[in-house]
């Protein structure tokens, strides 16, 4: 077996040195009533059989390779340059452990330090961590951090336009605690209604998402002011970080914590995971941050180098008083995001963001011209909601047969929004794709 190198001779030599008769003898300390009564019943395939089996499973999937996807809702199709795919495959990055021995891991450490830096520059924040699991868990951790900072305050408010799956994860993390969540309603224009904030007692933090789940860009400057007026922590989140190639950085609008999903940054959609949870904050909150942090320092010769630092926040030292229980994060995905941002550059990132926005605007206008309703009037980035006529779900299924995914139905997340669909247009949709879609739904 190619992953096991011991020959029968090797095994005999080693058993002798250990003083045990056979391999089963190595497990003498295990009581019989803890042992398996059967042998393992899992198929064993050759490399060639495995290739066939997996091709068979992959063949039962529709992917962006064969369908025209007009869908986002937290998972985005973007072109991934071959150069980032190639660089990420270097086994020194892939097969390395967490950089606890910094002398042997300067590659990972500088790479993550650069990722932290680029994230800060993208979001206008002072400090970013080395990643969390995904956008959903990042929002949950941000709210828990707001509660830690707020000391005696026990309530958080979350916009109902934060991605519904992120909200479910927040509920799961908050369920065993004594803390309360207030859900904030939305306004007719598709942005969050913060007017009720003053009525909420003991408010530690407020989270909004921008662009939000409707694709609408929130008025973050106003939101920040309203939230800080209540002496609460201002948390902004996102599921599409590319938007910040065009939009004002939340840090420039006085956000205290900015968090979200970074899958758009050079990471394949991969049926929802792995992605990368991006998390950034103001400098004054650095000791409250969850997750690993890479810091710059010098070695014994005065040479620049990097280490994991401020580790006393983390579980392996602080244990039950840690800022989070997180240990492994999404490190390789953070490296990928760093490589993607490096390959695009500042100029490329901005141009790509503009392309996404402009293509989505093209489709939006074309659909409007075709007589369809765009219910929310706020500005959008690369996603927007369309209200289709009654019975559109039939046509939506037909379009799937024609290999077109015409958006994600909203009604399962917002029961009041029957016949509303969330459409997404990235740089991967051509004008022809969009014209074809408009033609289809027009009829």
């Amino acid at each position: 077996m190619r992953y096991l190198s011991h020959t029968p001779k090797d095994i005999e030599t080693m058993l002798q040195a250990v003083g045990v008769r056979d391999l089963d003898g190595l497990f003498s300390t295990i009581p019989d009533d803890c042992k398996r009564l059967d042998t393992l019943n899992i198929p064993e395939l050759t490399e060639w059989e495995l290739n066939d089996h997996m091709a068979g499973l992959a063949g039962q999937m529709v992917s962006s390779a064969d369908y025209k996807m007009f869908a986002g809702a937290g998972s985005y199709q973007h072109y991934i340059p071959e150069v980032t795919r190639y660089l990420l495959s270097r086994s020194e990055f892939v097969t390395a452990y967490t950089p606890y021995q910094p002398e042997m891991s300067q590659g990972t450490l500088q790479g993550i330090f650069e990722y932290q830096t680029l994230v800060c520059r993208l979001l206008g924040m002072d400090v970013a961590n080395a990643s969390l699991y995904d956008g959903a868990m990042a929002v949950a951790e941000a709210l828990l951090m707001a509660i830690r900072i707020g000391r005696r305050k026990n309530t958080v408010a979350v916009s109902s336009l934060v991605n519904p799956y992120y909200r479910k994860v927040v509920e799961t993390y908050f369920a065993p605690t004594e803390f309360n969540i207030e859900w904030l309603p939305y306004r007719e224009d598709g942005t969050t209604d913060l007017s009720g904030l003053g009525q909420i007692k003991d408010l530690a933090g407020v989270a909004v998402q921008s662009p939000n789940f409707f694709g609408c860009i929130e008025e973050l400057a106003e939101a920040g002011k309203a939230i800080h007026d209540q002496d609460a922590i201002f948390i902004t989140s996102f599921s599409e970080p590319l938007a910040y190639g065009l939009l004002k950085a939340p840090g420039d609008l006085d956000a205290d914590i900015v968090c979200g999903e970074g899958q758009s940054l050079g990471i394949p959609q991969s049926f929802g995971g792995p992605g990368v949870g991006i998390f950034a904050a103001k400098q004054k909150y650095v000791r409250n941050l969850p997750g690993r942090l890479v810091g710059q320092t010098v070695d014994a010769d005065g040479q620049r180098g990097f280490v994991l630092t401020l580790s006393t926040r983390e579980q392996h030292i602080r244990r039950e008083k840690a800022t989070s229980n997180i240990c492994s994060n999404q490190s390789l995905c953070a490296m990928a995001a760093g490589m993607y941002m490096a390959a695009l550059g500042g100029t490329g990132f901005r141009e790509l963001a503009a392309l996404n926005h402009d293509k989505a605007e093209y489709l939006k206008s074309a659909l409007q011209a075709a007589g369809l309703e765009i219910p929310f009037t706020s500005a959008t980035f690369n996603e927007f909601v369309v209200k289709f006529p009654e019975g559109f779900d039939r046509q939506w299924q037909d379009l799937l047969q024609k290999k077109i995914l015409a958006g994600i139905p909203m009604v399962c997340y917002y029961p009041e929004l029957a016949n509303h669909y969330l459409l997404c247009v990235t740089e991967t949709r051509s004008k022809n794709d969009m014209d074809a879609l408009v033609k289809e739904v027009q009829s």
Binding site: R287, S311, T312, I317, R318
Partner: protein, 135 residues
């Protein structure tokens, strides 16, 4: 790590079993950690202190002191209300390592029961305790 004979143990403070010291001043008591404690901790990187106005009883945890790889709790030698904290420690936590009894002081309190000070160990008693730990 220092030998016991090298540990600095001034006469003008009293000590606790958790290695804090207290010094009686005119209106207040000053509090810090002993030379033995800072030596055991190694390079101190951060000291977490309470806020002015916070109240504690004797033996309550009032903060933590961190080295690179460890965190230790700090316990009140006597009860009272915090009147000042040493803000210099925020930018220079190494003061606790270098000058644990002077510039490395941590907080000053108004004692709720000044008699508690007399319950603390004097230099000789603390040194005996340290010798006992060695065995």
């Amino acid at each position: 790590m220092k030998e016991l004979s090298e540990v600095n143990l001034p006469e003008d403070v009293r000590y606790t079993k958790d290695h804090e010291w207290a010094r009686k001043k005119e209106e207040t008591f000053q509090i810090g950690i002993s030379d033995f404690a800072q030596d055991q901790l190694g390079d101190i990187v951060f000291v977490e202190l309470p806020e002015v106005g916070d109240r504690f009883e004797s033996g309550d945890e009032f903060g933590t002191v961190e080295s690179v790889k460890a965190v230790s709790e700090l316990f009140m030698p006597l009860g009272g209300e915090v009147v000042t904290i040493n803000e210099a420690l925020e930018d220079a936590p190494e003061l606790v390592n270098n000058l644990p009894y002077t510039e490395g002081w941590m907080l000053e309190i108004k004692a709720s029961d000044p008699a508690e000070y007399d319950q603390l160990m004097d230099r000789a008693a603390y040194l005996d305790m340290l010798k006992g730990l060695e065995e």
